[in-house]
Amino acid sequence: MVITTPLKKHIINQLKAGDKVLITGIIYTARDAGHKRMIEQLAKGERIPFNIEESIIYYVGPSPAKPGEIIGSAGPTTSYRMDDYTPELLDLGLKGMIGKGNRHEKVIESMKKNGAVYFGAVGGAAALIASSIIKAKVIAYEELGTEALRELYVENFPAIVLIDQDGKNLYEEEKVKYRTYQAD
């Protein structure tokens, strides 16, 4: 399925755990330090550096771009480290996250409450993913280097729905199908 940002409600309503999607449009990048800074800004009553409503955040810290290139390698980082910060962002209108790995129950609850989706990108497929990034610019926290906030324009960014707005979880559903292990 091809989807575009901003991530509108009617798109989210169609997305089910296990759906393969190609994302086109603007997405934002933030990881550990970027999230910490955003939450600190919010605590001080300030606005975060981009319009979070109907947006997607991609958890990534890219490698540096070579001269003439848009970005370096740019695969997902493990999402659970952002879990403490995520519900607050979902309450502000964040609708999608791209990362890898499990999420905390409180994030899933908040996703259900707010109608948001968690997408997975293939961890370590960083050079392949970079080829779907058409534009990249740092929009805040430049001093954080790889952890700075970036605005990306992506075309056909490959992802899969890991957890949908009903809380259905692809990891849990698929793992049991292939589990034959019995402790002896």
Binding site: G61, G101, G120, G123, G124, A125, E173, K175, T180
Partner: protein, 280 residues
């Protein structure tokens, strides 16, 4: 005494930083290809295919396989008859890391303090383990280690009565808990015996051994095979999205230990497990 100049060490380390990060290690490439034939999950097959494509793009475009180009872990075996000239060995290695990460456009992922997290901006310092050996050669092994998988590692101080079965249980439990967070298919390094820190270092060292090379000790090599088979029955699969390819390999190193103990360290690594050695 044979003399080795620090400049040669710096050059060699810089080269290995770049080479390990852009070119997939041959044992891992073989492992991915083999597992693709055995995988039955459609999502899993597709992911393995993307990983192979990714490795090909990275090499062709001379860019990192994974954006997490790791913390540089270095094992040095220095012969007693080697003398280092022109400066300090540790400085030369760190200089090599600095140079390699800069010139290779690799990501700088190191912060100078665990709590006051300011990036050092050159990916130093490296974590360096020294071993003094006989002879006059200097062997340097480099393994840039990504932290998605590193964070899923565990150490257990088992009782002697837990025995081999206890060790198997905690190894599989650790792999099961790591799940999708560690970018499966994983490579797992296990260190058994020694002390608390010795087991951890052995586990890291186990990750430097190619996965197609099993242990020289018969029972250990059998254990590696058995655990690989069992880990692949956990159902985790490529990226944790289900399947039989959960690990590409499990390497185990052992060491004598104390009458009261059975340390087991499990160092989780991923499908871009990077390692390379050079002798100077």
């Amino acid at each position: 005494m044979r003399e080795v100049h620090v400049n040669d060490i710096t050059q060699a380390v810089a080269k290995m930083c770049i080479a390990t990060n852009v070119k997939i290690s041959p044992d891992i490439l073989e492992g991915l290809k083999k597992s693709q034939k055995l995988e039955s999950s459609p999502i899993g097959i597709d992911i393995l295919d993307q990983l192979l494509q990714n490795a090909e793009i990275a090499e062709r475009k001379n860019m990192p396989i994974c954006q997490d180009t790791g913390m540089a872990v270095v094992f040095v075996e220095i012969g007693q008859e080697v003398s280092i000239s022109g400066g300090l060995l540790t400085d030369a290695i760190n200089e090599g890391v600095r140079k390699g990460y800069e010139e290779g456009y690799l990501r700088k992922s190191i912060v100078e303090d665990p709590f006051f997290r300011v990036n050092t901006n050159d990916n130093t310092p490296a974590v360096i383990h020294y071993d003094i050996v006989g002879g006059d050669s200097l062997k340097i092994s480099l393994s840039p280690k990504g932290f998605g998988s590193e964070n899923m590692s565990r150490i257990y101080m088992l009782k002697p009565s837990d025995g081999i079965e206890g060790a198997k249980r905690v190894i599989l439990e650790t792999i099961d808990m790591a799940g999708p967070n560690a970018c499966p298919p994983m490579v797992v390094g296990v260190g058994i015996g020694g002390t608390f820190e010795k087991a951890a270092i052995l586990a890291k060292k186990a990750l430097i051994r190619p996965i197609d090379q099993s242990s020289d000790i018969t029972y250990v090599s059998n254990l590696e095979k058995e655990l690989t088979k069992k880990a692949n029955q956990l159902g985790i699969g490529p990226q944790g999205m289900g399947g039989r390819t959960t690990v590409l390999g499990i390497n185990i190193e052992t060491f004598p230990t104390h009458i009261a103990g059975l340390p087991v360290a499990i160092n989780i690594s991923c499908h871009v497990t990077r390692h390379m050695s050079v002798s100077l």
